[in-house]
């Protein structure tokens, strides 16, 4: 046994010693209480440093950094967003009938909105609404929803990027009601779970979010069909007036956004806006949210 250097003790704590070196340090520790105390002090300081910096990684990431990492020039230079309002239609179906699934209709919608998607993420529409000048109310509503949509898009990207982990707070279980019950406990309203299985979308679980300082939920749906999913449905409370479904593109993902009776909804995904339109139509019908 010999006097152990600080380098050896620190490397021992970090697991960086090979077996003979480690045994040597351990023999010294067994024989020397002062050395053990020194090692404990070093271990404690390391632990405190980790704790001191752990919370930084949990902090919200400023949007300017998200923009910079995405190749943008920062928040101040962000492109102005232009929204397109569409009308969701309550499917005409009788009680107990399956949801409307019309592949031809959705394909047509997909084609239509594909044409509406211009370059650089700007939506170019030719609907009657868009051909006229937006009203002051529409402009004001767009300003209010701007941050909300950025949050919804950001959360969706984060969820997708996490891969299989999906950052799920409440994973889907055999009992979907139980999952919804759990997520609802943290929200100001009771959640309902849209069934999107007919679209080939499986409920993966739910995340609790804070959007503009208010609790919200992101319901995550996955599918093997990359043309459709994964999808995130963000539902939050709002005091803003109702707004018709609005198409947006933020941070490279598409959103279909609307507000109804104190709830804000955003269906978010990388899929064609036509698919989003069809699925959102179904969701709105199921949730009685239109």
């Amino acid at each position: 046994m010999h006097v152990q250097s600080d380098e050896a003790l620190v490397a021992y704590l970090d697991g960086e010693l090979d077996d003979p070196e480690r045994r040597d340090v351990e023999a010294s520790l067994d024989a020397d209480p002062a050395l053990r105390e020194r090692l404990a002090g070093l271990a404690q300081s390391s632990e405190l440093v980790r704790a001191a910096f752990a919370e930084i990684a949990e902090e919200p990431v400023p949007e300017r950094l998200i923009a910079a990492a995405g190749g943008g020039k920062g928040q101040g230079a962000a492109e102005p967003h232009q929204a397109e309002i569409v009308m969701l239609k309550r499917p005409a179906r009788g009680a107990g009938a399956p949801p409307r699934r019309n592949p031809l209709g959705f394909a047509a919608a997909a084609g239509l909105f594909g044409l509406m998607l211009g370059t650089g993420g700007t939506l170019i529409g030719l609907t009657a609404w868009h051909m006229g000048q937006p009203t002051d109310r529409q402009i004001a509503a767009a300003a209010v929803t701007d941050a909300w949509l950025d949050n919804a898009a950001g959360y969706y990207k984060l969820t997708v990027k996490s891969g299989d982990n999906m950052l799920i707070d409440v994973p889907a279980s055999n009992d979907s009601d139980q999952a919804l019950q759990k997520i609802s406990q943290n929200l100001p309203q009771q959640m309902r779970l849209p069934n999107l299985k007919p679209w080939g979308l499986t409920f993966k679980g739910a995340r609790l979010l804070v959007v503009q300082g208010r609790p919200a939920a992101e319901l995550v749906y996955i599918t093997d069909n990359k043309a459709i999913g994964p999808l995130g449905l963000v539902i939050g409370a709002t005091t803003e007036p109702d707004v018709a479904p609005t198409i947006e593109q933020r941070q490279g993902v598409n959103l279909l956004y609307w507000r109804h009776h104190g709830h804000a909804y955003a269906l978010v995904g990388a899929s064609n806006i036509g698919w989003l339109w069809g699925i959102a139509n179904d969701i709105a019908w199921q949730l009685d949210a239109i």
Partner: protein, 195 residues
């Protein structure tokens, strides 16, 4: 407005959806932001400076995307960019002395430290890290906070593994001395950690 990252430790992964290589690169970068911010905070100290550092690193990384070699650690590559920019800034603005002076003042008085609330104690520890010389600070952040191996940290810092060992030992000993001198800091930090 901002996003809350719930799983900052998750390794960056390529986006599942189809996209260009550039888009995947950006996605990895976005996923790494919480750790980059933490690393930068350890170097720069102040939050605003750290975020400026991360932003500059992101811009440089995107401009030099072609230099990143697939199969190598993306986080190490980014840490190296952050570190390089920070050192450039230190040389240009001589902020090191300012930061150390400020931290010294904050740690200099025992009485406020003993009354400090638990959460503030963690800030005190970060201030103590600020007092370390830049090379020790970088090594401490890479190994102790970011969890890189000595070999990986040596690659990021561009020094031999033995240098990493000695820098790390000096950093931890100095830090322990600061914490011991702070008295209540360690106790309060324990409370903060337990919260």
């Amino acid at each position: 407005m901002s996003f809350h990252w719930k799983n900052a430790e998750a390794p960056p992964q390529a986006a599942a959806e189809t996209g260009t290589q550039g888009a995947r690169f950006s996605d990895q970068l976005v996923a790494l932001l919480p750790r980059l911010r933490r690393f930068a905070r350890g170097l720069a100290g102040r939050a605003a400076e750290a975020d400026d550092l991360v932003q500059a690193a992101c811009e440089r990384a995107l401009a030099r995307e072609h230099q990143f070699q697939e199969g190598t650690r993306f986080d190490s590559w980014m840490f190296r960019i952050v570190q390089t920019i920070w050192i450039d800034q230190l040389r240009a603005r001589e902020v090191r002395k300012e930061a150390a002076d400020g931290a010294e003042e904050r740690l200099g008085s025992d009485a406020p430290v003993r009354r400090i609330e638990a959460r503030l104690a963690l800030a005190e520890i970060r201030s103590a890290v600020e007092l370390l010389p830049p090379d020790q600070r970088t090594t401490l952040m890479l190994v102790t906070v970011e969890g890189l191996s000595y070999k990986e940290a040596a690659a990021v810092a561009g020094v031999p593994v033995g240098t990493i060992m000695s820098r790390l030992a000096r950093a931890r000993v100095a830090l322990q001395q600061h914490l011991d001198a702070g008295g209540g800091v360690t106790r309060s930090a324990k409370n903060a950690r337990a919260e």
